[in-house]
């Protein structure tokens, strides 16, 4: 061997040894390798969860992808979206007032850690969630109390009528997924680990927080037939193009798409499904006129709705993945409150908008400060398009684009902005109304009271099952006719996936995306 080749060989050996030493020095189990195994599911999302704790986690897709594998709902939904048995095998309202409800758990259930999951544990979990959560479900659970009636039966008493208690007991809003006593006892541990009774359980050794989360089968899950994947990896890939690359190269099996990449990924088994899941909506929060006096006037709010060319904005910002709408409700089952008749309420008519402003005493327009989360290009496009069209009728929308969630929340609670753009709705009207329009709603930070909304909501809350649809439409009608909001367009949930591996699907009546752990393998 020559001196040159010795030097090269020595350097190469040094390189390999050095890198290997670096690779070996701890950090075990941080694999984020792609999904080559046939029975392993790898999905990618853009942002890590705020927390794995169901009390703080985000609801909706993809936030629940970090939760539903490990937390099972007391009730669940079938492929049509109808409520089905879950951890509980029986459930029913007691009486006709929508205030008392009972469910009966299956016998001999346990959490993933082996602790028995009986009525006492379920009631304790529901009670803990209700009293402690800071998440969006707080308002819906708050009026309820929970009592273990016997070993397997839990009695729920709601201080106000609630027609959707079965829905709240599914995993969708997270409160209906029991947390084990160990989890309840250790709040900080729940942020980075799971304490449920779901089909899978987080494997902390294989998980690198913020990068990838690995779920392995829960051997104690009551229905082992439903545990079809050997592993579920939820990977955080921040950039949409990187997600597409990972999908194309076979490293992930499914990603959450957006209008910028929708329709651009195909071939080699890659397919796409999409379905309306939410509504882009300017919440007109200051309806009492504290910061923006004009917003207290119904005619002004109606003028804003007439001033916006929804068709043009939906086409420009969302393409095939959105549709203009006048209402905050989605056509997603009768409980959503969608009413096709309301769609013609605010046909684009700037002349009428100007006339209404004049009638209301704002012929010269007014200034409307509005805040929104600016990290989505689609949100920015919609916000700016709306501001531009409002300017044509004399309304100056002063947009504040916030770079992070915390700052945006500070804007809301400071009550200094009259409106905010957010995707919302798409759920049952009982939930949507409490999210945005009742006096204590999250998106009603100014606490504006509205007797018409209250009356319509009370009717919905007390409705018998066969009256829920019309009652929900009643609430929707008040929202639209009084222009309590400025809806723009529906927005689709888009899933791009490898059809050779997995088959995601939407639930029939509600249009929700099925939980990832229930996606059939091909």
């Amino acid at each position: 061997m020559t001196s040159r080749s010795r030097l090269l060989a020595a350097t190469a050996a040094l390189a390999v040894t050095g890198i290997a030493l670096a690779g070996c020095s701890g950090g075990g189990g941080s694999s984020s390798k792609g999904g080559s195994d046939d029975d392993k599911l790898v999905v990618a999302v853009g942002t890590p969860p705020v927390s794995l704790d169901t009390l703080k986690a985000a609801t909706g897709v993809p936030g629940t992808w970090f939760e539903t594998p490990a937390y099972a709902g007391i009730l669940t939904r079938d492929a049509d979206g109808k409520i089905q048995a879950g951890l509980a095998e029986k459930w029913e309202y007691v009486g006709d007032a929508n205030t008392d409800f009972e469910f009966t758990l299956r016998d001999k259930l346990t959490f993933a850690d082996g602790t028995p999951l009986d009525a006492k544990a379920a009631a304790a979990s529901l009670d803990y969630f209700t009293k402690t959560t800071t998440g969006p479900s707080r308002a819906y659970f708050a009026p309820m109390t929970f009592t273990a009636k016997d070993d397997l039966t839990v009695h729920i008493t709601s201080a106000v009528p609630n027609p959707i208690i079965p829905d709240l007991l599914t995993v969708g809003l997270l409160g209906g997924a029991p947390i084990s006593p160990a989890g309840i006892a250790d709040e900080s541990a729940r942020a980075g680990d799971t304490y449920g009774a779901g089909q899978y359980v987080l494997d902390p050794k294989k998980t690198v927080s913020g990068d990838h989360y690995v779920y392995v089968p829960n051997k104690k899950y009551w229905d082992q037939k439903a545990v079809t994947y050997s592993e579920i990896d939820v990977r955080v890939i921040p950039n949409a193009q990187q997600q597409v690359q990972a999908l194309k190269s076979g490293e992930v099996d499914a990603i959450v798409g957006d209008p910028s990449i929708g329709g651009t990924v195909s071939g080699n088994g890659l397919e796409e499904i999409h379905q309306p899941s939410t509504v882009y909506n300017f919440y007109l929060m200051d309806r009492g006129g504290k910061v923006v006096p004009a917003l207290a006037n119904e005619k002004v709010r109606q003028a804003l709705n007439f001033a916006v060319d929804r068709e043009a904005i939906a086409k420009a910002a969302l393409g095939d993945y959105g549709k203009a709408t006048d209402q905050t409700a989605l056509d997603a089952g009768e409980a959503a409150g969608y009413d096709p008749k309301l769609e013609k309420e605010y046909t684009y008519d700037p002349a009428k908008a100007k006339a209404l402003l004049k009638e209301a005493g704002f012929a010269d327009g007014f200034t409307l400060p509005a805040t929104y989360l600016g990290f989505s290009p689609t949100d920015s496009k919609i916000a700016q398009a709306v501001a531009s069209q409002l300017a044509e009728v004399g309304v100056t929308m002063q947009l504040k684009s916030e770079p992070d969630f915390g700052t945006w929340v500070n804007d809301l609670v400071a009550n200094t902005y009259g409106a905010t753009l957010l995707t919302g709705g798409g759920s049952q009207m009982y939930i949507d109304a409490q999210f945005a329009f009742t006096q204590n709603a999250v998106m009603n930070q100014f606490g504006v009271a509205n007797s018409d909304i209250d009356a319509a909501f009370q009717k919905l809350a007390s409705a018998a099952p066969d009256e829920i649809g019309s009652a929900a439409q009643g609430v929707s009608s008040v929202i639209v006719k009084q222009a309590l909001s400025l809806p723009i367009a529906t927005s689709d949930s888009i899933i791009i996936y490898n059809s050779k591996k997995v088959k995601p699907y939407y639930l029939g009546s509600t249009g929700e995306l099925a939980p990832i752990e229930s996606w059939p393998q091909k």
Binding site: T2, S3, R4, L7, L8, T11, A12, A15, I19, A20, G23, C24, S25, G26, G27, G28, G29, S30, S31, S32, K33, G34, V50, S51, L52, K56, T134, P136, R138, A139, S188, R190, A191, G192, V208, S209, G210, D211, H212, R235, V236, I237, P238, Q241, Q242, Q245, A246, S249, G250, E251, D404, F405, G406, T407, V409, N410, V413, V442, M443, Q445
Partner: protein, 313 residues
């Protein structure tokens, strides 16, 4: 030599304090509120205040900083605001990924850079011109762009290597190497160009010096002259450059790890900054500073080994 090292170590203490202080106070200027991010708009004012107190966010920034430093002195880097994980453990989990990338990138740059530099100095003008152009282009191309192009070609089009992800060495040495090839190349490119230029200049200069002519006259073979004696002539400047490249790679990892979705310190820094996870940001800054100090100490030691005059000081 020992006095030199002791002096450098002592100087590293104020350096650590300055870096952690700058990091802490700069991040406190970023708009946002981690408590709000964690709680969302649904939380009551009481829940919000309780969380701020629990996270010590209600205290003045200077008090928060001093508490943080106090914890570090006791070996406690704190816990992530969002995940609740021990920051020290988080850093320990992610450090091997970044070290694999940085050590790999530096060694690849060293290996190829020396080879190209020596060939350029000894094999004529054409190669020298090529090295010049390569240095210019290699230094100008952003490593994240190189990474994206490499991923598009070798992962998506040719399906030879993964576009994203990391596999620990002990889990699968083969997959570990496959996962690192593209990021290491992306990170090494600018270093290769720099090292090649330094080596070419050093060897070219040495070849024209009297001691080389004497050795050649004494019958020492050409390859020994070049690879042993002339190359050694550029070793001090080479060590300096390698130290600089290693330290520069620390910042390079921030982009490269994000492009290839590697769970290292760089991607952790980005994620923690985005959501103002103060203890994690502090931990990453501390880790980067300590690595920089250690590398500079190693460079100083290398000077001593390579140059007896430094040893004597």
């Amino acid at each position: 030599m020992l006095r030199l090292l002791a002096r450098r170590l002592l100087l590293s203490i104020p350096l650590l304090l300055v870096v952690t202080a700058i990091t802490f106070f700069l991040q406190s200027l970023i708009p946002g509120d981690p408590a709000r991010s964690l709680l969302g708009p649904s939380a009551t004012p009481q829940q919000y205040e309780a969380l701020r107190q629990a996270l010590h966010l209600d205290q003045p920034v200077i008090v928060q900083y001093l508490n943080s430093i106090g914890g570090v002195l006791h070996g406690d880097l704190g816990r992530s605001i969002f995940t609740g994980e021990d920051v020290g453990q988080t850093l320990a989990n992610r450090l091997p990924v970044s070290l694999s990338l940085i050590v790999g990138g530096t060694l690849v740059a060293l290996l190829i850079g020396i080879l190209l530099g020596v060939l350029s100095a000894t094999r004529g003008r054409l190669l020298a011109r090529f090295i010049d152009v390569f240095s210019l282009v290699g230094g100008a191309l952003p490593n994240f762009w190189v990474g994206l192009v490499l991923a598009a070609i070798f992962a998506v089009t040719l399906a030879l290597l993964p576009a994203t992800g990391y596999v620990p060495f002990e889990e699968s040495p083969g997959d570990w190497a496959r996962a690192l090839i593209l990021p290491v190349i992306a990170l090494a490119l600018s270093g290769i160009a720099t090292i090649a230029k330094v080596v070419r200049d050093g060897v070219s200069t040495a070849i024209g010096q009297d001691f080389v002519r004497t050795l050649r006259a004494a019958g020492v073979p050409r390859r020994v002259l070049i690879w042993k004696h002339a190359l050694r002539n550029s070793s001090v400047s080479l060590v300096t450059v390698v130290g600089v490249i290693f330290v520069a790679s620390l910042s390079g990892t921030i982009l490269v790890e994000n492009v290839f979705v590697l769970p290292g310190l760089g991607s952790l820094a980005v994620a923690a900054t985005a959501r103002q996870d103060i203890p994690v940001i502090q931990g990453v800054a501390l880790a980067f500073t300590v690595i920089t100090i250690v590398v500079n100490l190693l460079v100083d030691v290398s000077y001593g080994l390579l140059n007896p005059k430094v040893r004597a000081r």
